[in-house]
Symmetry: C2
């Protein structure tokens, strides 16, 4: 079986480029070293290949179903894999030792998780969501809430979810109608319907901890009235045991094109199916303060967005590796200009156009992985930098890069999956091979955790303008530093540096020009185009960084990195030119299109 990721590439990015072992000098990571990082990556690869990859197709073919009693049936391999994962302690990888965690750097934890996402996106989603949920409660919950909910989740005994969307309110959280009414004992009763809840119900664990956005009666309209509640499927009982069944009911499973292994649910809160404490209404517990729910959730959502980026990267990566293997063994045709029709056919990797399909994939998935790990490294910086200036800088950079780290892999690693199908030809379109599933699975990523369009509005409407453009300035200083280093190296690095520098300066000009009017509608008319141009530029930067890291090093691996960098600068970065021209032109075609004219 093909490894689902390249450990060689991870080693390059983590050790030869991001210098992750140096983090061990920080107090939080003092127990760690390159050896412990290696051990976590080895363990993850091993578990992912042994327990996650083997049932990836089976879970797709046999999606979860709802039994007549309202419970969820799924293939047993999912629970077996997750039990093995829980036993490894990896769910708690990044958490404090005080709650049973390993205090791993986020960079290492993300790389470790990527093995599972690449092996089996559907099964990996459960612990991924659980860690995100636990992280939020650990950040904003009380000590009691941490004991009650975070610990069992980190032990893998309970799983967690995020309940934001409702049938009528997907991207528009201001319109949620789920209500939470405070009770005399300080708890709340929650009523409403939540939609698109991944992992929202299953029999994998004895309990499920829902984090639910809801409005209190005095919350007022819009997002400001939203609070955040812990609503467990089963209420905690005495002695860390389980108590009463809470009034949370699975009302339907969504049937998706891909990502079928993860249950995706519609949940009714407080519809009276259950009557905890003798009355209907789901019992919920406020996290932090009332009316601050959305700000807490955004803390998690920024992480979740980078996590979605990783899911897209992992799926792109595994498809790339499988199509590479296929191209080496599948024979078909002869080189251009071959004279002897009776000569044996050659492996298709010998055809330049197939190598183009592979190089494009390589440039997308390795470029995206570099960005994902770079952002993870920024999270570590934000969490553990010794001076406030470095922390602030990391925070600013993360703010600007998060929409890119989410959207770019979701677009281009999906394209990589399409190219992986293309390498396989007709076979790739069949379910006998894996690549069609990766493509279907990956199509989710431009939709959830904020659609592509939402990321564009976030980037251009908020992130590049915040604090007077501080985020853009700090990103510019980083890119410029890379450009300066590359120019010193001369040759190809210098040429690429010049190209990147030119594009970056155009982005700055265009950003200013777009906002010159002060009219948001005009400025944001093509925010998705801005997002895509910005994203390609950031990935070009990532490739220049990687190219610099190969200097003075010989061997196939480094030659491959250099060729992928060349590919990205020759075939990809120039695509940004017409996008910036369009933005600079003040195009308002879509804005001016009258709905009646369609």
């Amino acid at each position: 079986m093909t490894d689902v990721l390249s450990r060689r590439d991870l080693d390059f990015l983590l050790y030869e480029w991001l210098e992750v072992p140096a983090l061990a000098a920080r107090k939080r990571f003092a127990e760690h070293s390159k050896d412990t990082f290696d051990a976590v990556l080895d363990l993850s690869a091993d578990l992912a290949h042994k327990h996650f990859a083997p049932h990836n197709k089976k879970a797709d073919t046999n999606e979860p179903t709802m039994r007549s009693d309202g419970t969820v049936e799924m293939i047993p391999e999912v629970k077996a894999a997750l039990d093995a994962y829980a036993a490894s302690g990896l769910i708690a990888g990044q958490f404090d030792e005080s709650v049973g965690g390993m205090q791993l750097p986020t960079t290492v934890a993300r790389a470790a998780m990527a093995w599972f996402q690449a092996a089996n996106a559907g099964t990996a989603a459960y612990p991924f969501l659980t860690a995100a949920n636990a992280n939020l409660i650990a950040a904003y919950g009380t000590d009691q809430q941490i004991d009650d909910y975070v610990r069992p989740m980190l032990e893998g005994r309970w799983f967690g979810t995020m309940c934001l969307s409702e049938p009528q309110a997907g991207s528009s959280l201001a319109d949620i109608t789920t209500r939470a009414v405070r009770q005399d004992d300080g708890s709340y009763r929650v009523t409403g319907t939540k939609m698109w809840i991944s992992g929202g119900d299953h029999e994998l664990t004895e309990n499920i901890v829902h984090l639910v956005l809801a409005k209190t009666p005095d919350g007022g309209p819009g997002v400001k009235g939203i609070s955040l509640f812990i609503v467990p499927k089963v209420l905690p009982g005495a002695d860390s045991g389980l108590g009463e069944r809470n009034d949370v009911t699975l009302t339907g499973l969504n049937h998706k094109m891909g990502n079928r292994g993860t249950t995706n649910t519609m949940l009714a809160f407080g519809d009276g199916t259950h009557t905890p404490g003798g009355k209907s209404g789901a019992v919920g517990f406020l996290v932090g303060e009332e009316h601050r729910g959305l700000s807490y959730m955004f803390h998690m959502m920024n992480e979740a967005r980078i996590g979605v980026g990783f899911l897209a990267i992992a799926l792109g990566y595994v498809g790339y590796r499988k199509s590479l293997e296929y191209a080496k063994v599948r024979t078909q045709g002869r080189p251009l200009g071959a004279k002897d029709p009776a000569a044996p056919p050659v492996p298709i990797i010998d055809h330049p156009d197939v190598r183009r399909l592979l190089l494009a994939q390589k440039s997308y998935v390795e470029g995206a992985l570099a960005l994902g790990l770079y952002c993870s490294r920024l999270v570590d910086e934000q969490d553990t930098a010794v001076d406030a200036a470095t922390t602030d800088e990391a925070t600013l950079l993360l703010d600007v890069l998060t929409p890119i780290a989410k959207s770019w892999p979701s677009q281009w690693c999906l394209e990589a999956n399409s190219l992986a199908i293309q390498v396989h030809g007709g076979y790739g379109y069949t379910r006998d091979y894996d690549v069609e599933q990766h493509y279907r699975d990956n199509r989710l990523n431009p939709i959830h955790e904020g659609t592509h369009g939402i990321q564009g509005l976030d980037l251009l409407g908020r992130k590049v303008t915040m604090q007077g453009g501080a985020g853009l300035r700090v990103l510019g200083s980083k890119i410029t530093a890379t450009v300066v280093r590359a120019r010193v190296l001369g040759g190809e690095a210098k040429r690429h540096a010049d190209a990147l520098d030119t594009v970056w300066n155009r982005i700055l000009d265009v950003t200013e020009a777009l906002w010159a009017s002060g009219d948001a509608t005009t400025a944001l008319a093509n925010s998705s185009v801005y997002l895509e141009a910005f994203g390609h530029t950031v990935i070009a930067w990532m490739w220049l960084e990687q190219l610099i890291a190969t200097y003075g090093k010989n061997g196939d691996f480094y030659d491959g990195k250099r060729m992928a960098a060349r590919y990205f600068f020759a075939h990809e970065l120039p695509k940004v030119g017409p996008q910036l021209d369009l933005l600079a032109s003040g195009d308002r075609t879509a804005a001016e299109m009258n709905p009646q004219w369609f």
Copy 2:
């Protein structure tokens, strides 16, 4: 239910632009008029909506299966729809009256077929393949073969297939190993395995006529040794009845990501399962002359490629229409800058980014439909023009445009389907809506009838260089004529004309520069990029043609066309610039990538 195509758009393209009614002045179409064309389109739309669209999802969910006795089980709606289609006589739409046809112009027949392709790609494939098969026998078969095979196919009693690929020979037909040995009675015995045969077996009709590429013992290596054979599933018997079962056996159904309604089969020819005439070996009948099989097949394949383009267009179109409907009724969020969070949410079509997603789809599917119909109109010209010069010109244009008519819709109408999902948000990713199926169905089209890469090699390696560049010259003369007309109109038309003229001249320069070396490997290193740049330019030409056709006309429909033209020239055509820069640079990144470096 949303109409799967826009009759208004078809009327515009056929009547206001291509002046199809004028064809009735030609002898072949003398029985026709706009009224008969309208009647055929009305009938097609009606049958497609009544009999094809309703089981589209059901056929996807319940794909054909092979019973233990080797027969194929599928949902009964497929046969019911095809019986209704056969009863309409539409299979014979384009055929001569002498064989029971209607002598419809190809342009009208393609437009008629598009309704069925949009309503249900899987079910529509059976008559589509049957007509292509019958057309080939009608062109190259004997009178007896026409009586024996074409007539029952045009009556819809038998269906037909094309058997080219083998498990080891997909794109590389030189490597087929199916053998045909001549018998004393002039028939042949065929042995071998064919793969990816659409409609290769089923119980929809009492017989299936396979057209099979095979090599005779003296054929020699390579494609020159290939001959073409009619190999019916059941041999014709006395009095137009059925005779013995031929030695053709279904050995497996391929299970695909999409397009599931069409059986896609592996067939064994002559494996001894059946023994016609007392011995094993599939009985086949030579079409035309020995060793000319591939040239006959290419006649069909050029038509089939345009047909694949139509399939991609139809799927893109129906997805566009459904997402447009959805965007009008789904409410979510408020306009940018809206002050009142309690105001009701607006239909998502009010958001500029959603309109961008719709405009992009409109520009792709309507631009592609224009090209598909333009090429069909060229087929009519080729078949019925009164002077040889016009016929030759149409043939040259068709040669050059066919790889575009196949590849461009396969790429961009698939992208349209992805945007249709995006408009639907999370709902679009579920199987409760139709758009995810259209996307899966459409992903086939860049693969079959020559992959995207093969189309690029065909265009740059053959079509633009043939006859000293005659095809390129005649296309240039057509584009220039459009440019001249548009410039006269001034304003937006003139600006678009100038842009198109500039790009076209760059294509000419780049084409010359690529071939200046005389080295095919260098010239063709980025033939896929050339294909894509050429394709976007051709579609820009189609939009300029459409824009001209709207001049002096008022109303929502024409305003929509004008905005879509503006969109294509602002957002799409400029993408060609960096592609041509890349080609002009002589980039050889993919060609120089060593397989060891991946």
